[in-house]
Symmetry: none
Subunit: 339 residues, 3 copies
């Protein structure tokens, strides 16, 4: 059986699954969160597998960061999602996993690449959960490949340090907000972490967290646009602190920026150890999600302009605009390079 | 990326997934049913994909038969299940899919073949669901392989015809209760308490119990009314005894009263500690649910009158009527007070 | 909605979630049980949180009672359910949580209050599960508020005592079958087919049916053996008739044969089109599952002998023995061929 062999090579993996009604919104578009969760499951398996290929403490690969991810095409109920993951770089204490997602319509045979993502994992010892273990080296096809990986490693390391600070703010509710204001679409949900949300060792899967983040961001976008909205991209996400079994997770989202074709939503994840309350609530993750609005034929609609209130919202809008312009410039540059 | 290519070959497929607490029993053994479900998902994808590789009506591959399957080794929570499926024979109107399941311990690297299965699928047209479509031929590695497949095909065809007859018998030779009687709509379900049903400390969430109670009451109401029914109210529910992890919960419901606009269903919850059986089965909760019946526009329909049999049913009906009249009076009083 | 403001204070809480296809019936009405489950989740979080705000034993709030609840308006798939919970009274050993549920159509902005509920929780020590701990006092806005709460507390206490007695009765006054008989372990479950159980075209996935069959067979085996049981094999399964969306599926299992090391369970699947009832109930699948019993180290245990009653059970036992011997012979033959 040819399939069996490919499992043996520790450095690649394929997951696939039919998309079901609960994976999608009422119009049939698969939630970005469903795809992020599958991507992370593949990354977690391949990362944990690789980090355990040498003697010593057994360890679990914990998600530390997801690079900026674009959702290139929508996926629909009934299609098969194929997620392929590959380890592409290993530093002393982390691995980079690159993931591709294809959608396959098994009735027509049509396939499309819907996502590309890069995730960073750090292995924690199972004997001592605060102890980061060493990552076995991988073989590179060429010295250039290793060099490229090292550059990506240094760049993300820098960014992770930078964002660690941005973590203080809380969402403040507004009384009877006007439509199109930030207060109007602002949303938050609470989730009690259950056993199937966790790894065998009691830590919440990064994919579970990302799925909740996408759910809240989607509600914010739908409240603002009142149309069928879909995830267009997710900015790099850093996972600063682990979330454990028995926590209550509060996920909050607010609109920060809207261009004509897309809107940006900032999402915060706070963890609250329910019983050991003395440990205190802490900010675990923050990220920016970008959504687009679609009509019934799946064509893009323009986004209603945001009504900004106060200097703070104005400042965030300007910051969002900067990110928007940078991403746009980067996309154009990538396109030109490919031609 | 090499993984992407293997998708293109229409005749093989790999699914993999980490086994979670909800996939297993309390001791950590993955349920056979979890594995059977994954096997069938792989078979369904590959079968549907193959049957749509030629022009003509689009079709869905429907499972027709699973050959005898052995579970060679147990699988555990935290292991990765790899399911590989391959089309191994095609007759004019059916395909045989052979599936292998491997378990992989990603911490130790140990892998085991836990199952081998063979499934037969028949393609049904999506335009006309009763119409079986033709299966495209497959290429065999050798003429011997085709011959072997044909033998398996003939053998299973014979067996399917044989068992078709044995299928008439019903487990409980019900003396067919008359429509609109209490016996006709009476229903009960069994639920094996899983990890996600429980608090961190092994007690079933009250909300899980109430959801099961509503499910049974809804089935009773739908069997009686044969329409779209919705929950209108729930009487006070007392939780006298805790239900623990590892219990089997039996939830039973029976109609007690019907007015023109609503019907009342009494629901019982019994807990049965499966393993510590010396503790004995006990009644954990009882409650009354009230349902109304709606037409396609969501407007209330009248409830078919109940056919009562015996004094006991008559007494329960009178009690239900009392509750109904009391609630009605209370609602009216509340309304007046609010004006 | 004022509830939004209060997230920060420990004594109030908001949960929200989009209603998904699996939360509703085929017409799109969210199940009452889905809402009850959300209400209780909010109550459990806020209750547990409050009871742990003072030093001493950590504890879990256990649901003791839900007051009568009305479902004022239906909720639909795609709407967002907002559940706000607030602690409104604390006695020495219990807390009252009041919950409001709003539905929000995020496309039109329309909101409706769909439910109001009051739940009573009792905190149990996590160190000693039978020990009720003390509840920290709460602050009341006015002395009148405390007085009102106390009245509600006394009223529910009285009612709980009253209903405690009514709880002895069993639905079907079973003439308590003897252990190890077929009647003793015989089990059946009802499952309302949901969207995620089905293909895009409304047919139940074969894998979903097999998972339910394994679940029932496992309950039969556990009731007979009272140990950790695992699926050892499944005989060939034929799927004679399709099962469609909106059906109620009844899955029943009974022990047919037991050798020293394994037991065989026959499983029946009956489909019942709930709304188009004129189509009638039909037998969709039957199969034989074989289970083995394991001790805590995972070693096989012997199966308690079955107590057979009547000729019919004796006949089925002989048939089962035949299958058992045939399979054993076949396994031996396969083994020899492979050597």
């Amino acid at each position: 059986m040819s399939g069996t062999q490919s499992q043996a090579t520790a450095s690649s993996l394929q997951i696939c699954r039919i998309m079901r009604p609960d994976d999608a919104n009422i119009v049939g578009n698969v939630h970005g969160g469903t795809i992020l969760k599958m991507i992370e499951e593949a990354g977690c398996i391949i990362g944990t597998r690789h980090c355990n290929t040498q003697p010593g403490d057994r360890c679990a690969a914990q998600l530390a960061r997801v690079e900026r991810t674009d959702f290139l095409y929508p996926m629909f109920i009934g299609e098969v999602a194929h997620v392929s993951a590959e380890i592409t770089y290993a530093s002393k204490h982390s691995v980079e996993v690159q993931v591709h997602v294809m959608s396959e319509n098994i009735l027509t045979g049509a396939t499309k690449m819907t996502n590309r993502a890069a995730l960073w994992y750090v292995p924690f010892s199972l004997e001592d959960v605060d102890n980061v273990t060493e990552v076995p080296p991988i073989k590179y096809a060429s010295p250039g490949q290793e060099e490229e990986g090292k550059k990506r490693y240094e760049a993300q390391k820098m960014e992770r340090l930078e964002t660690k600070e941005r973590n203080g703010e809380l969402l403040i509710p507004v009384s009877a907000p006007e439509p199109y204001t930030v207060g109007f679409s602002q949303s938050s949900l609470i989730h009690l972490v259950g056993p199937s949300d966790c790894t065998l060792h009691g830590f919440v899967h990064g994919g579970v967290t990302m799925k909740l983040m996408d759910e809240v961001a989607g509600i914010v976008a739908a409240r603002h646009c009142k149309t069928n909205i879909v995830t267009a991209s997710v900015d790099a996400i850093n996972f600063h602190r682990k979330i454990m079994k028995g926590c209550v997770v509060t996920v909050s989202g607010r609109a920060t920026f809207a261009s004509n074709k897309s809107m940006e939503i900032e999402v915060f994840v706070d963890a609250d150890p329910l019983i050991e309350a003395e440990k205190g609530k802490y900010r675990a993750v923050t990220a920016f999600f970008t959504y687009i609005s679609l009509d019934k034929q799946g064509k893009p609609l323009s986004i209603p302009p945001m009504k900004l209130e106060g200097d703070e919202e104005q400042r965030r809008f300007e910051d969002g605009k900067m990110r928007y312009l940078q991403n746009k410039a980067k996309r154009l540059a990538d396109k030109e390079r490919q031609q």
